[in-house]
């Protein structure tokens, strides 16, 4: 007879049994045709390609949508055709004609020039965060219908305001904001004249490799294969799981619970380098780590202090010891991997020189200052190392750690003194960074435009003029020369101490091949990914 007591004891043992017997089966590797990725997903705002403007969302969007062209991952000076098969400029470089290739949306409908025109018009009409990338060519909600036209089913014409270098235009059209969406589907889901925005934030209507099955915020994103799309591999689904902790990501990768881990730290990567079950896919991306000195602080406004700071930092020591696999020393305001980037690193730790500069500035006794920094690693470690370095030359730094968005809010309000933060380039052209670092025409508190330089109250008419000249230069070779000169001057004569450039690593299990990382998150692609 089974007494009540025995029954209860037996019942309690059932979950335990499941551990022991299922150790070989249910906790085994992930299914063959599903790619499971562990990634931090907490920074996403929207999956509407004409609205979303941050790295993680950008990566998802570039796997769900196609643009007219795509930046060539191997050769940064070229673009490859995607939706646009060929293109031509008129004599004045103001009218650009695109002939479209054959492509199909996930719904089965063909991609037409009408969809392309609608998409670009939509981006400008909605006028969200990334819209400036294309409306800098003079498009507005009023003129967009006449300037972006589908002249027939396979031909698209763009007319810019002023003569434009076609390479610049093409690079801007390779950004996610120029993604081609399916006009019929988007308009069918329009509400309150929002051009389908609310619906497209959580759904997809594109021609890319995958379509969006579900986005559960802070939990997971599930992408389903688009049978009509360009993907030719053996995956049917890609599931991206939100795992905040890099240690957890590592554990899951090693156990085979995920196929790819995206946010591992230097220490973890070091350990994985010798692991034969894991392949590391690495790419230096367009993200720079720098210290900003707010010019509204009297001490920080002295040019000798700018230089003193740059000569006090132990770049190599920090890079080798704290961030060996995730960052490289880089001191120019343009990221490596972009055309025209200068990779000189003139600054090295020289305490004597830095101290002499402090004396020259009349600050032989040093001064007290605060430095804000992100609370996510490796920022706290680097901040403490910086604190020690600056302490040696008399700058006594008090550290303030805060969430990313908190630091951002503070910098936007010009509330920081020194700040250690990162800047990710917006689109694939040297103007993207040059503009935010150099072009500041209005330094008042309620300026219309508030570029990165403005946040630290830095206004230099000289740099502004040089950056604008470089942007507008027609001759491609001369343009690059102008940017190179600008970078060298900026290094020596600005209140921004650029220290590192970020290298992203995707740790893949060895049976996963073909995952690509791009210099911008838009280049992170599953297009060629397969699972053996």
């Amino acid at each position: 007879m089974v007494s009540r007591r025995n029954f209860l004891i037996g019942g309690a043992a059932v979950p335990f049994l499941s551990y022991l017997e299922l150790a070989e089966t249910a906790f085994a590797a992930t299914p063959k045709d599903i790619l499971v990725v562990a990634q931090q997903l907490d920074n996403m705002t929207s999956l509407d390609p004409h609205e979303g403007f941050e790295a993680v969302g950008g990566e998802m969007m570039s796997n769900m949508y196609q643009k007219l062209v795509r930046a060539n991952s191997d050769n940064p000076n070229e673009v490859d055709p995607v939706i646009a098969a060929s293109w031509a400029a008129d004599a004045e470089n103001k009218v650009f004609t695109f002939k479209l290739a054959d492509a199909t949306f996930a719904s089965g409908a063909p991609v037409t020039a009408d969809d392309a025109a609608f998409s670009l018009q939509r981006a400008i009409r909605m006028n969200k965060s990334p819209a400036f990338i294309i409306n800098q060519f003079g498009f507005t909600a009023e003129n967009v219908e006449s300037r972006i036209v589908a002249t027939d089913a396979k031909t698209l014409t763009l007319t810019t305001e002023t003569p434009t270098a076609i390479s610049f235009l093409l690079f801007c059209l390779s950004a996610n904001v120029a993604a081609i969406v399916e006009k019929k589907t988007v308009l069918a889901n329009e509400a309150d004249g929002d051009l389908g925005n609310a619906w497209l934030q959580k759904n997809s209507a594109g021609s890319g490799s995958f379509k969006l099955q579900a986005w559960k915020a802070s939990e997971s994103i599930t992408l389903m294969l688009n049978e009509h799309g360009p993907y030719k591999g053996n995956l049917k689904r890609v599931v991206i799981r939100h795992v905040v902790d890099p240690s957890s990501q590592m554990l899951m990768l090693q156990k085979g619970d995920v196929d790819v881990a995206r946010d591992l730290t230097s220490e973890q990567l070091k350990a994985l380098q010798s692991d034969e079950n894991v392949v590391l896919v690495r790419k230096q991306i367009a993200s720079l780590m720098l210290i900003s000195l707010n010019q509204n602080n009297a001490n920080l406004a002295k040019p000798q202090v700018w230089e003193a700071v740059k000569w006090a930092l132990d770049y190599d020591g920090m890079q080798k010891n704290i961030v060996p696999l995730t960052h490289a020393v880089h001191q120019s305001m343009e990221p490596a991997g972009f055309p025209g980037t200068v990779t000189d690193t003139p600054f090295k730790k020289d305490v004597a020189k830095a101290k002499a500069l402090m004396v020259e500035a009349g600050l032989a006794d040093g001064f007290d200052i605060t430095m804000d920094h992100y609370s996510a690693q490796p920022y706290p470690d680097l901040a403490q190392a910086i604190q020690a370095n600056l302490g040696e030359i008399g700058i006594r730094v008090k550290l303030q750690s805060a969430e990313n968005r908190q630091v951002l809010t503070k910098m936007r309000a010009r509330g920081h003194e020194m700040a250690l933060s990162a800047w990710g380039t917006d689109y694939f052209d040297p103007n993207s960074n040059a503009e935010v670092f150099c072009i500041n025409k209005d330094n008042s508190d309620d300026a219309k435009k508030k570029p990165f330089a403005w946040r630290s109250s830095f206004k230099s008419d000289d740099f502004t003029a040089k950056a604008e000249a470089a942007r507008d230069e027609k001759d491609p070779a001369k343009r690059l020369e102008l940017y190179e000169a600008l970078q060298r001057e900026f290094m020596q004569n600005s209140p921004f101490a650029v220290m590192f450039q970020n290298t992203k690593t995707a740790a893949c299990r060895k049976n996963v091949s073909g995952f690509q990382l791009g210099v911008l998150s838009e280049g992170n692609s599953y297009l060629e990914t397969n699972k053996a």
Binding site: S247, E267, I322, A383, A388, L399, Q400, A402, E403
Partner: protein, 299 residues
Amino acid sequence: MITTFTNWALDESPSSRRQAAWGNRYRTWLKLRTNPLGMIGLSIIAVFVAIAIFAPLLATHDPATQDLANRLARPSAVHWFGTDELGRDIYSRIVYGGRVTLGMVIAVVVLVAPIGLAIGCIAGYFGGIVDTILMRLTDIFLAFPRLVLALAFVAALTPGIESAVLAIALTAWPPYARLARAETMTVRGSDFIAAYRLTGGSAWRIIFRHIAPLCIPSLVVRVTLDMSSIIITAASLGFLGMGAQPPSPEWGAMIATAKRFIFDQWWVATIPGIAIFLVSLAFNFIGDALRDVLDPKES
């Protein structure tokens, strides 16, 4: 000398109030002494306080000196507990960290007890609308998720030890108010209070000179029990990046920065964890023993 004191305190018929009070305290101490867990707890805390006070003498290195080439070193003769992610000596950081933790705990108690006492006594004594309003306020703070409230306060006040202390204090006072109020209500109808009123004592005088002191024993018990949760909340805030800022050697913050090495260099995170555990446990033992001795049915 000790025997004289003992005899005086344990006198069966005390001749003054002071003697009776000290007698009670001494008897409590005697009872506490028989509780082995309580004594263990007390000794641990005594050691902890001694370490905190004599930190400069006990530390082997400067807790802030970085040695980037010697990061994450294993425990050795030079670095007894190894080094952390910036090459700093862990043993010295633990020793100095004791000061931070002790300081935070004392600061919180110093803030919380008077606030809770004041609000509770005032509410309990005056009753009526004052009571209703104050208790409503207490309820609101009690119903609010504590960690969230602390997080919000710290974020609003800029992260740091001062803000963390303030935040913890602001979330910890409601139970003390409730306690003080309950005690006050029991006592306020008694004869000696009535006597004070008759002799013309003002309400405030009565509350602060006569009623409040009576609430203190149960508050003390509660505080000792809460110490452990204060330490853990402080460590949790440090773990979430909201507490003491680097390079302060606060134990919770040390765990936070070291948790990413837990697989290979496990000692960097585990040793501060053990420190927190020991001190919390000690406070829990003492509080438990005190509760046994003073008021076994306390809830």
